[in-house]
């Protein structure tokens, strides 16, 4: 090859620089330059109209073959209900009208998800459309993500889940023992242009799904017109599940 | 160095010849059947002949190399495995030796420092390399039974499951595939790098390693890169096993190279140092108990020898015995 030393150094320098810049851009770019960031708004009061309703949970579990393990320690959950006190730790809801209302919880699909940062195999990653997705083929069950997630959105399959799935959905895989799982905003439905199953199933239309980067989307209109909170905003993870007060 | 290069060239030559032969379909058909049978027959007969020859020479004396406290006084704890007092303990010692390479584990490295001061340091790498290589080879052999047996016994499936434990990739990555290569490369470079070991190494020492490495590489190539029709190969293998040979699936250059290298190894085995596989079981310094004084060992060829008897001795030294006042047999 006919490459002078100088040329070689120049090429090396540029390629090194280029690589460094790409890295830097990747670090910042994700949060700022995203065109799509799917998000969810939960209307707490609408949801509370039917305190006993579990339609969203049922449809999610059915669609994704989420096992119903009776042993609480081995529970697997994608969407679940909890008290505001627990859901919004640090907020003072003592005298608020929503103090006693149940709150729907799920993965926040954060702007800067700590679970993604810690995953050693990139089994969890943030997609272009902002969904914090999971590749169960890659998950090695190390549970770093569970430790990193401040919202307890992730569950580990301590036991083989199959015996705890009543009627399986053949369209969706189950998981095996030793794998972590969580809400994926129904990526399989989004790719077909459909809304998440829970949104569709909610009888009160309490769940609003949409692109929060799009100023004209329903969810943005909702968020701009109503007071809302997110879970543990002080952590800087940038949750994309919003709770309308 | 020269010998190492020659050994690699020899193995490469065999592989290239096999590859060239595989070009001609008729030759391939013929060789793929004749060579494995001939090699396997050589292996079986050769090893049987070896062991028989060994067995025909008796072990006239019980000569264990004792590596621990003997069993003598009841209040001193014997080291049963290093100085086995009975057959059971011998079995234990042999198991340690054959399965875990006990003696090699003892290995040390001597260095002479200023002073002069001799220092004996730990040196377990040879043991580690040998263990890595041999155990991987065993697992790989067991795994290969999947091509020769139908239906498959549980042990073969278990070996595969264990070997593919990490469930990485498809076809699943076998740990032993990597370990066996690492082991072989370590053993090979050790022969080259250590000046003393290089000095004692013969062509055959390098050749055996190069041949095994060739087999490993061709196998890895087939599994992870070259792609072969595995059911077709199993049909071929079962054809050999049931004496109803069938044609190789096409294309099969890489498989044929693998097959020829394995056949070379099998045929070479009984005539090389590789017979240590069987020999280790027969080693009289390891497989005999240290109970010489408790149980008499019989030497089948124990022949009478000329002894300077007491009578002859007394006759010769009679005056001196008398003068010293020592008792005499014949007055």
């Amino acid at each position: 090859m006919n490459l002078s030393r100088k040329a070689f150094l120049r090429v090396s320098c540029f390629s090194l620089l280029g690589a460094a810049m790409r890295k830097t851009a990747a670090a910042f770019g994700s949060t700022f330059s995203r065109k799509v960031q799917w998000g969810m708004a939960v209307d707490i009061r609408k949801c509370a109209r039917r305190p006993e309703c579990t339609a969203c949970i049922d449809v999610c579990d059915q669609a994704h073959n989420v096992p119903r393990v009776p042993d609480k320690r081995h529970e697997v959950r994608w969407i679940w209900k909890d008290t505001p006190e627990h859901a919004f730790e640090g907020e003072d809801f003592r005298y608020s009208s929503i103090a006693k209302l149940p709150v729907m919880l799920m993965c926040n699909h954060c702007d800067d998800p700590p679970c993604v940062r810690v995953c050693p195999t990139q089994a969890t990653w943030k997609r272009e459309d902002g969904i914090v997705a999971m590749d169960w083929h890659r998950c090695i069950g190390c549970r770093y993500c569970m430790a990193a997630c401040p919202y307890e959105s992730r569950s580990f399959n301590w036991v083989d889940p199959r015996p705890y799935i009543k009627t399986a959905n053949p369209e969706f895989p189950t998981r095996t023992k030793g794998v972590v799982e969580k809400c994926t905003f129904c990526v399989e439905r989004i790719s077909q242009g459909r809304e998440p199953a829970c949104v569709e199933a909610c009888p009160e239309k309490a769940l609003i799904f949409g692109n929060v980067m799009d100023a004209n989307s329903e969810i943005r209109r909702m968020l701009s017109s109503r007071d809302h909170v997110t879970r543990k905003p002080e952590l800087g993870t940038g949750p994309n599940v919003f709770y309308l007060l | 160095m020269k010998r190492a290069v020659y050994s690699i060239l020899t193995v490469a030559g065999i592989a290239v010849l096999a590859g060239a032969a595989a070009r001609d379909a008729a030759v391939l058909r013929w060789l793929a059947v004749v060579v494995p049978y001939a090699a396997f027959a050589t292996f079986v007969l050769g090893m049987s002949w070896r062991v028989t020859v060994w067995s025909l020479s008796p072990a006239p004396f019980r000569i264990p190399t004792v590596c621990g406290q003997q069993k003598a006084l009841s209040w001193i704890k014997p080291d049963r495995l290093e100085s086995p007092p009975d057959t059971l303990a011998v079995v234990g010692r042999m198991a340690l030796e054959v399965l875990l390479f006990r003696s090699l584990f003892r290995n040390t490295r001597m260095t002479l420092r200023e002073g002069p001061r001799l220092v004996f340091g730990e040196n377990k790498f040879l043991w580690l390399g040998a263990m890595a290589f041999h155990w991987s080879l065993l697992v790989i052999l067991v795994r290969h039974l999947r091509l020769f047996l139908e239906p498959l016994p549980a042990i073969v499936l278990a070996a595969e499951k264990l070997d593919g434990f990490f469930e990485v990739g498809t076809p699943v990555f076998y740990v032993t595939d990597a370990v066996v290569v690492v082991g072989l490369l370590y053993l090979f470079q050790r022969r080259l790098r250590d000046p003393l070991v290089r000095y004692i190494s013969l062509f055959t020492d390098y050749f055996a390693l190069a041949l095994l490495a060739g087999i490993a590489f061709s196998g890895i190539w087939m599994r992870y890169f070259g792609r072969v029709d595995i059911t077709g190969i199993k049909e071929f293998a079962l054809g050999l096993a049931t004496f109803r040979p069938v044609a190789l699936p096409a294309p099969s250059d890489s498989f044929f190279v693998h097959l020829i290298l394995v056949s070379t190894l099998a045929a070479y085995f009984p005539f090389s140092k590789l017979v240590h596989m069987g020999g280790v079981f027969l080693s009289p310094t390891r497989n005999l108990a240290n109970n010489n004084r408790a149980r008499r060992h019989v030497n089948p060829w124990n022949y009478p020898v000329r002894v300077h008897t007491y009578e002859e001795w007394e006759t010769e030294f009679r005056d001196k015995l008398e003068a010293a006042g020592l008792p005499l047999e014949r007055k």
């Binding site: - | 070896r50 020859v53 060994w54 067995s55 020479s57 008796p58 072990a59 019980r62 000569i63 190399t65 004792v66 590596c67 406290q69 003997q70 003598a72 006084l73 014997p78 290093e82 100085s83 030796e97 003696s103 090699l104 003892r106 040390t108 002479l112 002069p116 001799l118 004996f120 040879l126 003393l196 070991v197 000095y199 004692i200 062509f203 020492d205 140092k273 240590h276 020999g279 280790v280 027969l282 080693s283 009289p284 310094t285 390891r286 240290n290 010489n292 004084r293 408790a294 008499r296 060992h297 019989v298 060829w301 124990n302 020898v305 300077h308 007491y310 001795w313 007394e314 030294f317 020592l326």
Partner: protein, 537 residues
């Protein structure tokens, strides 16, 4: 000052030469080989090809058909010894043995690596006895048997002390001692042997011991020892010789009643047996425990060893007790019963003092003195005053054969812990089964071989030096007659200020005898210096 000096000797080059080992014929250098056997010794024993010659001669005056003799001898031995055939076949040249041999450590000569020492004959085996060797020759590591090869054998197989250390580390247990024994047998077939082995063998066969001490001289030595013991302790002992009806026949290496420091150990035996009232006798006919036949051939070993059982039978004893000796115990432990047994005319050994049945010796009927004494101490049958050995700071050298053939490791240590107050082990890679040879075993302890002995003993001496510097050790104890003879000059050479003694010398010092006088000196006649007590000059 001996030449070469230690500083020169320790300049050891461990890098092998550029030339292949097959192309480097042996060079006999003064101080590294032993002189040939005198014809009279071979003639007496009926060994082939007695003649005047030396290894440095160009012409070794070999028989015309020496090659045929060697090859037929090889074939015969391959058929008779599985060890030999197997060890020719299965070596993989892994090199684990390389730096385990004391001669290699001390000389750096690559042909002193056990693997290469064995290759010297293995290459010939391949050439004449294997298919690959015949077909591929040098490529398969085979070579023709030539006079140069024979000379190489002579040089290097008389540079192996049959200590078996390599065998401990070999993954297949290949024992160079076994190979050395075969090659020495082969060399004997064409009359290539050394005088320092053959003269003791001839003496032992004819007179009864290596040193050639005739019966009256033997009796004088023992009487002298008895009177000296009386002088030292005030106790009168009366050892018996060739006494029929004694319970026990006591066999020691002949150096014990003649050599120094063996002699003090001998005094220790006498004192001990007297104190416990043992009914034992010596034999003038079998007045040698050692057996240089082991270093000659299996047949010669058997010839010499036969006297022990013959004498035990003639004297009508119940069992045999053996003194401190290394290679003697190799023969007694591994060969005696097989070669000259079964000893049905004897009884399984029982200690008359403690009643202990020595079950481990029930077939051979021979007990080691350390087993016997340890048993006495364990049962509290003797009273000991370890302070009498306070001037000694003691370490213990495992003799190769005692450690790697018998496995007698704890018994002598048990005794030492009861007879002295200061005891320190040498580093762990140099003791027990990993013990280093004195460098002069298997008949190589002769003065013309001085340089090689110092080289071979270097690892042992180095370990002694370590404990001398670290703990102030000044006495090396051992239970081998060759050690006692060759370790003093070795330590003098490498690490002056450490003396050598047998274990039973210390037993004799510490033993409280009934009716003894105030013991002012130890068995060496030197003042007893108790710790904290004024030391006499």
């Amino acid at each position: 000052m001996p030449s070469p000096r230690p500083e020169e000797l320790v300049q050891i080059q461990y890098r092998p030469p550029a030339k292949e080992w097959l192309d480097t014929p042996v060079e006999f250098r003064k101080g590294t080989y032993c002189y040939s056997a005198l014809p009279k010794n071979l003639q007496y024993l009926g060994f082939p090809n007695p003649r005047d010659w030396q290894p440095t001669d160009a012409d070794w005056k070999l028989p015309k058909d020496w090659k045929r003799i060697i090859l037929e001898g090889m074939r015969d031995r391959l058929n008779r010894f599985r060890s030999f055939r197997l060890f020719m076949d299965i070596c993989v040249r892994c090199g684990a043995c390389a730096d385990k041999c004391h001669y290699f450590i001390g000389s750096g000569d690559p042909k002193n690596m056990p693997v290469l020492r064995a290759e010297l004959i293995r290459s010939v085996y391949r050439r004449y006895f294997t298919l690959t060797g015949r077909l591929f020759g040098r490529l398969a590591g085979a070579r023709d048997l030539t006079e140069d090869v024979l000379k190489e054998w002579f040089y290097y197989f008389y540079q192996c002390t049959e200590c078996r250390r390599c065998s401990v580390f070999c993954p297949y247990g290949i024992d160079t001692a076994e190979i050395t024994m075969m090659v020495r047998e082969l060399l004997n077939l064409v009359g290539c042997n050394i005088n320092w082995v053959m003269e003791p063998v001839a003496n032992c066969d004819r007179i009864g011991n290596h040193l050639g001490i005739q019966p009256h001289g033997f009796k004088d030595s023992i009487d002298f020892a008895a009177s000296e013991l009386e002088e030292l302790t005030g106790v009168h002992v009366e050892p018996s010789i060739n006494r029929k009806g004694a319970e026990i026949l006591f066999i020691v290496p002949s150096a014990d009643y003649f050599g120094t420091p063996h002699y003090y150990t001998f005094l220790g035996y006498l004192a001990l047996f007297h104190q416990i009232g043992l009914d034992y006798t010596f034999s003038a006919y079998a007045s040698e425990g050692g057996n240089f036949g082991l270093f000659t051939s299996h047949e010669m070993m058997k010839r010499l060893n036969a006297k022990v059982y013959a004498e035990a039978r003639r004297l009508g004893v119940k069992w045999i007790l053996g003194g401190e000796c290394g290679h003697m115990w190799r023969v007694m432990h591994q060969y005696m019963a097989t070669m000259n047994g079964p000893a049905e005319f004897l009884e399984p050994p029982v200690s008359p003092i403690t009643g202990t049945r020595f079950e481990h010796a029930r077939s051979t009927k021979m007990v080691h003195i350390c087993e016997f004494t340890a048993d006495l101490i364990h049962h509290g049958k003797i009273r000991l005053d370890p302070t009498r050995n306070d001037r000694w700071n003691v370490t213990y050298h495992d003799s190769c054969n005692i450690a790697r053939v018998v496995g007698l490791l704890e018994e002598p240590r048990y005794i030492l812990r009861h007879v002295c107050n200061q005891f320190h082990e040498m580093p762990e890679n140099t003791i027990r089964e990993q013990t280093f040879c004195c460098g002069s075993g298997s008949g190589l302890g002769t003065d013309e071989n001085f340089e090689m002995r110092m080289r071979g003993g270097f690892p042992r001496a180095n370990a002694v030096r370590y404990v001398r510097e670290k703990y102030g050790v000044n006495l090396l104890t051992c239970i081998c007659a060759i050690d006692k003879a060759t370790l003093p000059p070795l330590l003098e050479y490498w690490t002056p200020g450490v003396e050598v003694a047998g274990v039973h010398e210390l037993v004799g010092n510490a033993l409280i005898l009934d009716g003894e006088k105030e013991r002012e000196t130890d068995l060496r006649g030197e003042p007893i210096a108790r710790k904290g007590v004024l030391v006499h000059a």
